[in-house]
Subunit: 387 residues, 2 copies
Amino acid sequence: MTKDKDDSKKSGQKKLSDHECDGCKINSNKQNPYNELISLGKSVVQDINKGKNPKIEMSVRGLSNVFYDKEAKTLALGDKTAQRFFFNVAHTKKFLQTIEVASICKNLLDSMKHASLRDVFYMAKRTIPNTKINIVDDQKETDKAIEDLEIITDFSRECLHVNANKMGSVAGKVIVEDSGDTIDWSKLGSGGWSIPSNVEEIKFKKVEAKYVVYMEKAAVWERLHEDRFWNKQNCIIMSSQGQTTRGIRRLLQRLSVEHKLPIYILTDGDPWGWYIYSVIKYGSISLAHMAGEMAIPTVRFLGITCDDIVNYDLKRHFIKLTEQDISRMKQMQAYEWFVKNKDWQRQFKMMKEFNAKVEIQALSSKGISFISEKYLPEKIRKQDFLD
Amino acid sequence: MTKDKDDSKKSGQKKLSDHECDGCKINSNKQNPYNELISLGKSVVQDINKGKNPKIEMSVRGLSNVFYDKEAKTLALGDKTAQRFFFNVAHTKKFLQTIEVASICKNLLDSMKHASLRDVFYMAKRTIPNTKINIVDDQKETDKAIEDLEIITDFSRECLHVNANKMGSVAGKVIVEDSGDTIDWSKLGSGGWSIPSNVEEIKFKKVEAKYVVYMEKAAVWERLHEDRFWNKQNCIIMSSQGQTTRGIRRLLQRLSVEHKLPIYILTDGDPWGWYIYSVIKYGSISLAHMAGEMAIPTVRFLGITCDDIVNYDLKRHFIKLTEQDISRMKQMQAYEWFVKNKDWQRQFKMMKEFNAKVEIQALSSKGISFISEKYLPEKIRKQDFLD
């Protein structure tokens, strides 16, 4: 044990001085994810040495401890805490899993390498010595352990060197430094920069752009990119394809917090597009403990709104709402942050009356570059956003 | 009509001399997609002027006209042709749709802009003047029309400026020129270059890398990238997340044809991973007419094979085959190109005996960088590939 502790300490010191991760620094009250993991280990060892039942203490996750923080304007975790004991049949496996994953993360930080969630599962999937019992049988178990460690250490899993999937592209007048390279987002041809799953260690060297448009659809990004929209408007264009990954959300948040750039969300005119906006702005229940790093209360919704459907004559591209659309919309209508928001309630009402949604590409019926030459410049000039 | 023809001619000449698209040049016997569209229009106009029933002639698509070309070692279209007449109630709507989409493509080429498949749908979705009938009601109709135009013009839809979805990242010692920018794939930080949906206009300026590893999973790409695998091995690493887009397949094909780079496919050890390999190598039925541009007969399968499962002791990470897995495997086993391939038949047999598959990330159980430090270098050194 002593040997292990000394090793950790040495590496810990090395990491402490080496820890140049801009993303981590800004978002946590703690100094260093490595030291937090060491503290966790030490407290367990102390319990053992004192002959106490080893325990881990952490905030309760889940609906019962999630509330809407009106001041921060995001979802957040309440102050309910729970204790997990090693000598408790209901806790012992989870206890073991948390410690195992903490040790994997410590090794990742030590070796300065990053793993995917799936990697971590396979790294933890081994039998307990002298038994036939696996430490984990399912990725859900390691995923949960990682979320627990986010709460325990107050660092995101990205800071613990665990990444989710990589997705999305970005272009605009920004120069970053990353992994020893200097990358100019305005000089990357038709492809743009491929957004990494983990953006914590990126350094912004020069940010000329004045705002960010984040869009859900890669095809719309390619349209705006081909039209050099980011150049004409001096902005950043960013997109995923499908889900808004944590890498993208953190990149948006860093641009918002560190460079005070306004962020505008561009989606289909449907409940799912609006939901994307809601999650980026207010956070989600499952990630409430990460709201400080993930939610971006300042983002605004650019479109497609129901007013856009009227003003830009898109009714002839109506697609009837499905049952899923309607139930998603009802859910949102009742969200605490939307319930007193007259503008959004008006949108929900209009869409319900339409009983229809509109895709963003419907704008192409007006001309291939209508979106970049008329719709967006007009909306942005008029500051026609929803909050 | 005359005015229009003159305009086209003028633009056509402009395009002809401007047409610097490396991808198009190499893959079609024809010279210029623009001129092919003009020819189509002219032949219809000639029919009208002669008082004939306007017709479009093209190869038949679909299973009845698809065969395995043993010489080219890809799927290909046979020589059955069909005629589509304007004055035929069964043909007239499709005729109109083909001409409408041809005109949209001509305008895209004229304006040097690219559209997504969805954009083209919305651009074509309008009522026929003085009627309440839409030219198209569903994207399937414009998608079909675009495939027809691929056959009629002998140019891919990318050459006709219609793009699919964008996905994937690339890194390696390659310098390309694209949209006026010079991009060094080895200097793009942890993100890499985001692969555009359309890679026809990319120019390869310098290709130092000696081979390409294409992997299905972005998380594996990030692993290899962090380990600078492409630098140590002097190769290119490329990945999508999910499907292998046409942009990726064309990029692989251009590196194979224009730069003679060997291409190795790295997937999960399961029937779906193997199917990815089959489609990249031999093409697919739905894209048989594009085999010349899409299929890459020289690609080889790197892993995960059933032998890898044995040799690298991965059996403890077995996941039971599902019914879908088994039926996909049976289908492949019967493919003309696999049926006489002893090595592959052996793989199918082994997996059937295992009644289990293994994910590529199972390699992480041996250490986070086992894949880049041992598995891949060993396999590549021994040239342990399947053909």
